[in-house]
Symmetry: D2
Subunit: 295 residues, 4 copies
């Protein structure tokens, strides 16, 4: 059985490539020499072509770059001196999301998952799926496996967790979110990921630029492995899935921090922008299944 | 306004006093000298008359007794030598539960609560109600304050938490129960108490003998302060409320342990019994509001 | 054996009564009608005489008062309308701390503790002593029972936990403090209490005014039951023990909140003052054992 | 700077390859059809040659195998029918540990770490290093970076955590271990890993066979990235580092479960053996730095 072939047979609804202008500005304040790893550049993949890209650091600082071989995820390492550092990034990105009928996107049983995908069924720092089996079974096993089951998970989160700026921090995991019923995009994504994994559905964390997000900010969504591809889900319902530009990828936010800082550094609230040149309605495709990545 | 008067006006449905025979046998194994505090005797209150009572410890050990002035809760302290100690308790108890129409049992706003009752709105070891406000509001504020709102809480617990022997231990608090969705009577009671408190309803923990409980064991239920009295609730739905005999009382299980042990002592699984002489159907009164205590 | 008699035989070092002027100003902002319970007044006990006392609320609001029978702890209940409420309290307090040689303050075994004191060996919301037995035994059982053992606990906390304003919040319990190694006075007190209880030493939480505290604020300390009395301990080492004026008392901060708010109310940072008329050195008595309460 | 070169200059103390016979027997009981992923085979690397290998499943069941490209870690997937399944594995393994003077093994600053190693400084499911920075700095920054600092971490764990069979379970993370001060090899490894990461030292989890371990069982140790290689550490001090045979590898136990089960399957306690043909004293090398892996 070759799962991805079945998806291809699904009715692909192609609106063609999206052109999205993205940019961000970070302001870091180091009280002593420090090392900072940035993950703010758009990933380079077959479905996401990046051009007209600039990354500036002022005062000028040597940048060491690294790109992960398969995923095209990109990191920059800076050795920052004491003082204030401003990082400015901008790029044009052309994405080619695969958009299909969600009814055609079936679930893949654990027995048939490709081995490299299996670690995305394991629990992680913020997604302790190992404790959620009973809850996930009770609430979601009634939905048939596939895109609809993950949508049911996201609907539950949307209906039971309140989006409250400042209600969580860098240490908040799904246990607290389930108890306090509040969070931001990162917490919504973590809970979605954890509930998927508790049902044996591989799921991972995607940090991204999101076209026309209000207020503009970095965003975080769920990617679940279904029908041989990774499909995007946003339990916050704040972003249009086909307007996303992938930045980081991992088991959870521990793997996809915008900035990882070693030393006495503070990051002020970043400025972010992401605009589309297209005039189409952003939310027209919300009932479709959207994928930006096969691997 | 004098709240308790209003309850008195409610249609009291009086089946008359219940006669219940209770008993328990504890087996303690001390590997060195230790101090054990027992809370296994039936409380002595106006509504709960205890007679024909025996408490035996073998080998014979001096027992120091203490009875709390208002609640009639009773403790026994033993200084146990190394070796095995067997404690046997038995009593006849005549209880006079107040049974009324739940529709007549209204909620008391925090502004009107008697001061001595206020601490039962505070969070405690196993009932961290301070984190549950958003959840409790979202799920239960739609029910009018009063007996029905607490019943709605217990119904939610019954429907969303599975009764699984061995799924929790002496350290389990409501946070874990909300995440794992499993527990035993003590966890069901803790979650009921925490959700009440998160809504400003005073609630406390009652350990008890429960007539005709299967399998026989010590039991734990919620007591919520409504309409000027404390009303009993059992989210497990395993016990008939008018067949309960109160043993311990407190903020949560930390205050009402059957055995509190200081030193190297192990307690084997106790044997418990509680039978009623009455032939009436135990569950006939389940739709009524039942109270064993005004204070 | 009558424990308190032995303390009396200890060399009491009496500096005579302290006269301390205390005051606080709270600013509450209610977005709708709400109920607020204040615990800001100095307790009235034999050892703590309160005079020249004023409690003003503006705009004028009816105040309902309650004083606990034995401990003299006092609560005020306000029904606040929407808007800003300012509460101002001031008083002169004459305290008569019992100051004795710490060497004479022995520990009381669990087998000999008065029954009413036993609940202070139980775990509570922020002091989950039930998990700390192994740690407490390993670190502190080497010190002989008594005042010195509790001092050893406070020394450990002082040496291993950093006082960091803003490092904790109203939900922080000793588990987090042990992991993050940071906290404020409330967290230091909670950890001291939990470690005492893990060793069978009754311990409770005291909120207080503290003469000459810098910066001025409400303070929180540990009270441990030793030699038949309750003795004060401050693991932060920021306050002079004989300059404390007791406000609240309980198992932990859940019982002794300065303000308990039901409804949409915010409390801004309070202004607090506490000055002594005495000219003696505040820290001269730091090596003594200080008690403000027998019961 | 090319870090690995410096290690090579260190005095390599070569005892030559070790020959170790390993074996294990798992007994799985499935109450319905289930999928099981095994990670029990010795990894195949340049430093670990595996021969005379057998893997039997009875009743006979198709096995799907997968080997990770760089690390040689191996997984087997079984689709098990209801009933009992017995898995038996045995192999001869020839390992070539690199053994060097610990003084020569320096630490690598975050600014100089290879990018692929950086994720091992991130927090993970059981190793929430993000909360441990203050503790790790306070206790271990006084040791110079390098092998000695990680040894100091392991010494602290050995001295402050008690090895207690049954004190933890599959959900236990370092927060609980720090509070309860008890655990088994997996918990010791998790705490070692978390404390390394809190100091910016990449660290990962290794499951293994351990020659002459008593009682025989699967074992778990820490691997920390120092001086351009991964070095082994065992905070339990139960195994000789040069007698280890690597099985699994990952961020923590979530990545290196012996058995990962999807469905209603129970695993009974496995039987494990690992013997060396060598007659040398197993603990002779304990003061050396031992590495089984460059990557």
């Amino acid at each position: 059985m070759e799962p991805s072939r079945r998806v291809m047979r699904a009715a692909i609804v192609d609106w063609g490539p999206k052109k999205i202008s993205v940019g961000s500005e970070l302001r870091l304040q180091a009280s002593s020499s420090a090392t900072v790893i940035l993950n703010i550049e758009a990933a380079r993949t077959e479905q996401q072509i990046v051009f007209n890209e600039t990354l500036q650091v002022s005062p000028e600082t040597p940048i060491e770059s690294y790109e992960l071989p398969r995923s095209g995820i990109r990191y920059s390492r800076l050795r920052v001196p004491p003082g204030e550092i401003i990082v400015r990034y901008s790029a044009q990105v052309s994405t080619s999301p695969v958009v299909v009928d969600p009814e055609s996107v079936y679930g893949v049983g654990v027995a048939d998952l490709p081995f490299p995908v299996l670690p995305y069924t394991f629990p992680s720092r913020y997604c302790q799926s190992d404790r959620l089996g009973r809850f996930a079974q009770a609430e979601f096993s009634k939905y048939p496996p596939g895109h609809g089951r993950v949508t049911a998970i996201c609907n539950w989160i949307h209906d039971h967790v309140e989006y409250v700026v400042g209600s969580s921090d860098a240490h908040t995991s799904v246990h607290e979110t389930l108890v306090t019923r509040a969070g931001v995009c990162r917490d919504f994504a973590h809970l979605g990921i954890a509930l998927c994994r508790a049902l044996g559905i591989p799921a991972r964390f995607v940090s991204c630029y999101a076209a026309e997000l209000h207020p503009p900010d970095f965003h975080a969504v769920v990617e679940a492995y279904l029908g041989g591809r990774w499909f995007l889900f946003d339990a916050t319902r704040q972003a249009a899935l086909h307007g996303l530009v992938r930045i980081g990828l991992g088991r959870d936010a521990a793997d996809a921090s915008i900035t990882t800082m070693f030393g006495q550094v503070q990051s002020l609230k970043p400025k972010v922008q992401a605009h589309s040149e297209s005039t189409e309605s952003w939310h027209a495709l919300d009932t479709q299944a959207v994928s930006l990545s096969a691997v």
